[in-house]
Every structure is written in C-alpha cells, then in structure tokens.
C-alpha cells in the first residue's frame, strides 16, 4: 500500500497528491525535487508541511498550482487531483480559474509580494476584477473594506501604498488578497518566517480566525515545528522530496513513535521547556538531490540504519492515521 493516509476515516478529499515526482533540469544536472510525494488534504483541514531547506516543500505548492518554472521544472509522474479534477491534465483555462479563487497562495516575503506602485486597496480590487468581472463597483469596494477590517487594517488606509505599512501589516494585506475570493484551499509558504515572534503570533491567530470563518483548508509550509504544533491539526514531515511521516499533531508531537528524522529534528531543537545542556544535531547533510541513494534517502544520517535501508525504499506504515515511512517500523509490525 503506497498511500499516505492522513486521516483514517474517509472524508471528502479536497486535494490528493499521489506519488508525485518532480525534477528540475538545470545545466549541470537533474535535480530530483520531489520523489514519490503523497499528501491528502481534506476540506477545512489545517495541515503543516515541515522540512528543512531544499526538502521540496515549495516545489510541492508550485506543482499544485502548476507554477513550476517553464522548461526547467518538470512533473515526471504521479497525479494531483483537486476536488475530483485531474490538475496535471486540466486545460490552462481551468488552472487560471482555480488560482486565486479556489486555491490561493501566500508567499514568504510580504515586502516583495505587493506591487509598490499600486495602492493596497487597488491591489485587492484587482483580484476581484479578475475573478468576479460581473460584480458592481460598489459591491467590490464594500468587499475590500470588509476584508481589510477582517484582517485588522482600518479600511480608511486602503488608499495608501505598501511602503507605508510595516512588515506585519503587509503580511495582513497579502492574506486579505489571498482570502478575498474565499478560496477553498490556502497554500501558505512560510508566511511568518520574515516576521518577529510577537507579530508571528498575531498573524497565526488571524489565520486561525479566518480559517474558522471561511472553513478554508490551509497547507502551512514551514521549517518551524513550533508553528506547526501551535497552528495545525495535522502534520506531514518532508525529507528529500518525500513525506516521511504524517499524522495528527497529537500523534506526531507525542514523541513516542517517530521517524528517525523527525526524532532527530526534535532532539536538535532548543526548546523553552528542555533543560538538556547540549543539543543533539543530526549528523551529515541532506541527501544530494542530483544523486539520490537507492534505498532510504535518510539512511546516511540515520542512527538505526541497517542493510535493508540501503537497498530498498521503505513503505509508509500506518497505525490509526499516523504514518511513518521507515523499515524500522515495518519490521516491528511484522514481529
């Protein structure tokens, strides 16, 4: 069974990614960014995608929207199904209508995701113009005012330009833009990484509120396990282009049964409640995506590595919604 079961119970799946392989063809080499990436997102679910730099988190988000760089980025196999529609073979017109209305994306840097020479009000209006061409001007203005006050910005400031807002305020505007069309799915790529902790707390709180108001499903891409623990219901840990562990936040963060990589991440994280004098770093470096090993991609850094790990790719082993892709657990289950 090669399926990532985030939820054991059968819900209506909003987004289903199956065994996705994506590669970047650069001048030097072929970079295997995603290698059998599987993920299921249900309606209204808040799922966290955690991983380190280069794990393939952003590639995953770009693949969903078919926004991979032309010619360089290539989906070699697998499928992405959104609400029953096969996204990889959908016509461009369908993708255009999907982006912004049904699926929105928030990028990491609020400073560069806004156009500096257009007022914020007009930028939000533009989204409405694109997706609701029939809506009257007054109606649109009203919607803009509503969404601005919803994200905590006085509508009176809509005639100001992006540089007149602080970083946190800009991220609020970006969120307003992403949510004005009331999408079903929000892809948030490190939305709080560039912000201070107190502002991060505000933004996460805001996203929680908005999520419960619109019942938007959120895929939160982050490198910060703490953010996932605070914000998400479910978590998928990504390593070398694969989901190596997935499950509810409670199951994964209980730290009872984890993939060796997740365990390593927990150990090397300085946490407020830990008292350990030294951190335990994960030895070595992420597998070279141009030259992936035959077996488990974590084998080189894994303290529990055995011979089978070097020769065979592990399967996802699932217990009650908690899945781990590791030979260690397959063995135990058999025993």
């Amino acid at each position: 069974m090669r399926e990532s079961a985030v939820h054991a119970e059968k819900c209506e799946n909003l987004l289903e990614i199956q065994d996705l392989h994506v590669q970047y063809n650069t001048d030097d080499a072929v970079v295997h960014a995603l290698n059998g990436f599987s993920l299921t997102v249900n309606r209204g679910q808040k799922i966290g995608l955690v991983g380190e730099t280069g794990a393939g988190k952003t590639t995953c988000a770009l693949s969903i929207l078919r926004l991979l760089p032309d010619k360089v980025g290539q989906i070699t196999s697998g499928s992405i199904t959104y609400d029953g529609e096969d996204l990889l073979h959908a016509p461009t017109a369908y993708m255009l209508s999907l982006r912004g209305t049904k699926v929105s994306m928030i990028f990491q840097d609020p400073m560069t995701s806004l156009n500096p020479i257009i007022t914020v009000g007009d930028q939000i209006l533009e989204v409405l113009d694109l997706h609701y061409p029939d809506m009257s001007k007054e109606e649109k203005e009203k919607r803009v005012d509503e969404i601005l006050s919803l994200v905590g910005i006085p509508p009176s400031r809509k005639n100001e330009f992006p540089h007149q807002f602080s970083g946190g305020m800009k991220q609020r505007i970006v969120i307003a833009m992403a949510l004005i069309a009331e999408p079903e799915l929000l892809l948030a790529d490190e939305p709080t990484t560039a912000l201070d902790v107190t502002i991060q707390a505000q933004i996460l709180e805001l996203m929680k509120e908005l999520k419960s108001k619109f019942n938007t499903a959120v895929v939160l891409i982050t490198h910060d396990l703490g953010v996932v623990a605070e914000f998400c219901d479910d978590v998928a840990v990504v390593y070398a282009g694969e989901v190596i562990e997935s499950g509810s936040v409670e199951a994964v963060f209980a730290r009872e049964k984890n993939h060796p990589y997740t365990e390593g991440l927990f150990n090397c994280l300085p946490d407020l409640s830990s008292t350990a004098p030294r951190l335990i770093p994960i030895p070595g470096f992420m597998a070279d995506p141009t030259n992936l090993p035959e077996g488990c991609s974590f084998a080189d850094r894994c303290p529990y590595c055995r011979s089978i790990c070097r020769s065979e790719k592990p399967q996802m082993h699932v217990w009650g919604g908690h899945g781990i892709k590791c030979h260690l657990f397959g063995q135990k289950e058999v025993e």
Partner: protein, 316 residues
C-alpha cells in the same frame, strides 16, 4: 567577582534621520565576565545589533564608555586599536554576505592573521589556518574552495574560524544561527559552546530567538526600542519574568511542547515603531496591556532582587 571582561556605562548610540534623532541604543549598562555569555534578545529594530557594533567600535558611540578589562576602549587612538582587534571579534547573521565571494576559504581565515600580524611567515600562517579550521570542524580539503561551494552551516563555520583566527577573548555573535536550518543550527550552537569551554571565550549573543538564548546564555538582557527592559540570569528570567514585554515575548514563542499549547497568552497588539525623538517614559507603554499614566514618567532599570533588573513602574 573581579573586573568584568566587558562593561558598558551609559552607552548611547543615536542616528540622525530626516525625521529627527533615532535613539537606537539608550543608556546601556552591562557587564560580561570572562567565560560568560550574555544573551541579548529583542525584536527587529530594538537596537541589539547596533549595540553589538557600537561595543566593537564598528559604529561610533554617541555617549558612554565601553570598558575592556577596565580600560575605556572608546578613547583609544588609532595605534591602540590593535588591542581591540586582537581581543574582540564578531560573527554575522548572513552566511552568504559575510564571506568575501572572491577569496578562498584559506585566504578568508588567513586575512585577519595577516592584517594583525599575529603570525608571520607563509608557512606559519598556513599552519595556523589549518589549526583554526580543525578547531571549527572544517576539513582541510576546503582550504582551496570558495564560499559559494559550501552550504550555510559550513559557511557559518568559516565565519567563526575567521573570528577565531586572532585568538580573541570576546566575540559578538549577531544572530549567527537565525538563517540556518535547525539541524545545522544545533551543530553551530554546540561548536560555540565547545569553543567557549576550550578557550574560555566570552560571548555577547544577539538573537530574536528566546529558545536559542536560553540554551547558550548565562545572563539575558531583553531589549525593546533601544532600552533594556529586563536583565537577569537565565534561570531567574525564565522562572520569574517580570516585565510585561518579556512575558509577551515568551508566550508568543511557538513551542513543540503540546502541554503548553493551552498556556496563558499575553498577546500583544500593535507593532514596534522606530524610536525617533521618543517621549520620556516607557517605550513599551503604547503596546502594554497594563499601561497607565505613571508609565509616562522617566523609566529606570531597577534592581528588584539581587541581579534581576526590571524597567517597569509595576515592579517595585
């Protein structure tokens, strides 16, 4: 305790802007003993980096003193500056812009040795570079590589090696792990702690991350808009934080500890503004849930219990 290795007295740094004086660092008094680490925590724009750079004389101080072993280094003439360079160094946040892309790793590390002239002779310098690289966990084969060939963690090791090349006593670490992935961050933090143990180094560790600061510091100073709001030993600060800002900062940190998910939160509203021509009184007052008329009076850092200083009218 004897004379502290580093001490500042009434250190101030103002910048001229078109809208008036920006009070980036306001009246800072701190002491760092040999072998200790002072963690300086605060959000962006609180003046923590400016403080570090002012101590190292990378920026001229507006007023106050910086004492190294009891000697005011701010009055040093040009020919005495060498004493500063040999004893006080800095490591930087950005592993990409902190290394000269046109120089090989060996040259980057050898440069301070050559400039300061601590070791002379080509062969001796090469030996010293190898020794430092070994100390910082950099294999010899990287000597002739260039920064762009290394990843963030190794580059940060090179930055540290460059600072260690002149055998300093004190290093200002300006967010050295903020740009790194957690697994690499742990390696660098461990390395910093090992070096401290081996060489008896003192650090001033500037960061926005309270978890990291808790891990590495002996004392912690929390800054807000150029002022110190709370200053205490690590144990005291995490057990008994008094200033409303410190409390808010601590509760805002996302944690992997699920039991703390439902903790009491001191969520802050509003954002940091820049301290241009600030009014007297507590600069945190506009965001403070407990602010009152009293907060407009001159705020002062008071010792509430031995070694625990707080700048808040609520804590007498």
């Amino acid at each position: 305790m004897g004379v502290p290795l580093i001490e500042t007295r009434g250190l101030k740094k103002y910048f001229k802007t078109s809208r008036g004086m920006l009070h980036a660092v306001e009246d800072i008094n701190l002491k760092i003993q040999a072998g200790e680490t002072l963690g300086v925590v605060g959000e962006s724009g609180c003046g923590k980096s400016t403080l570090g750079r002012t101590i190292l004389r990378l920026l001229p101080a507006t007023a106050g003193e910086v004492l190294y072993n009891g000697e005011n280094i701010l009055t040093y003439k040009k020919h005495e500056m060498q004493k500063i360079h040999l004893n006080m160094q800095m490591i930087f946040q950005d592993p990409y812009s902190s290394l000269n892309p046109r120089m090989s790793i060996a040259n980057i590390i050898a440069e301070p040795i050559k400039v300061c002239g601590t070791v002379t002779g080509r062969h001796a310098i090469e030996e010293k570079v190898e020794e430092i690289m070994d100390l910082c966990g950099l294999p010899k084969r990287y000597m002739n590589t260039y920064p762009h060939e290394l990843d963030g963690g190794r580059r940060q090791r090179v930055g540290l090696a460059r600072a260690m090349a002149v055998d300093p006593k004190f290093i200002v670490c300006d967010e050295p792990v903020s740009a790194l992935d957690v697994s690499i961050q742990a390696q660098i933090l461990n390395l910093l702690m090992d070096l401290q143990e081996q060489k008896g180094l003192s650090y001033m560790f500037i960061t926005h991350d309270l978890c990291v600061v808790k891990h590495i510091s002996s004392n912690i100073m929390v800054m807000y808009m150029g002022q110190v709001v709370e200053y205490a030993s690590k144990e005291e600060l995490f057990k008994n934080q008094l200033h409303p800002y410190t409390k808010a900062l601590l509760s805002a940190i996302p944690t992997i500890d699920l039991s703390r998910r439902s903790r009491e939160r001191h969520a802050l509203t509003g954002e940091v503004t820049s301290p241009i021509e600030p009014a007297p009184g507590c600069r945190f007052a506009p965001r403070c849930p407990h602010a009152s008329e009293k907060c407009r009076e001159q705020s002062e850092l008071r010792e509430v219990s031995p070694g625990h200083y707080v700048s808040c009218v609520l804590c007498r």
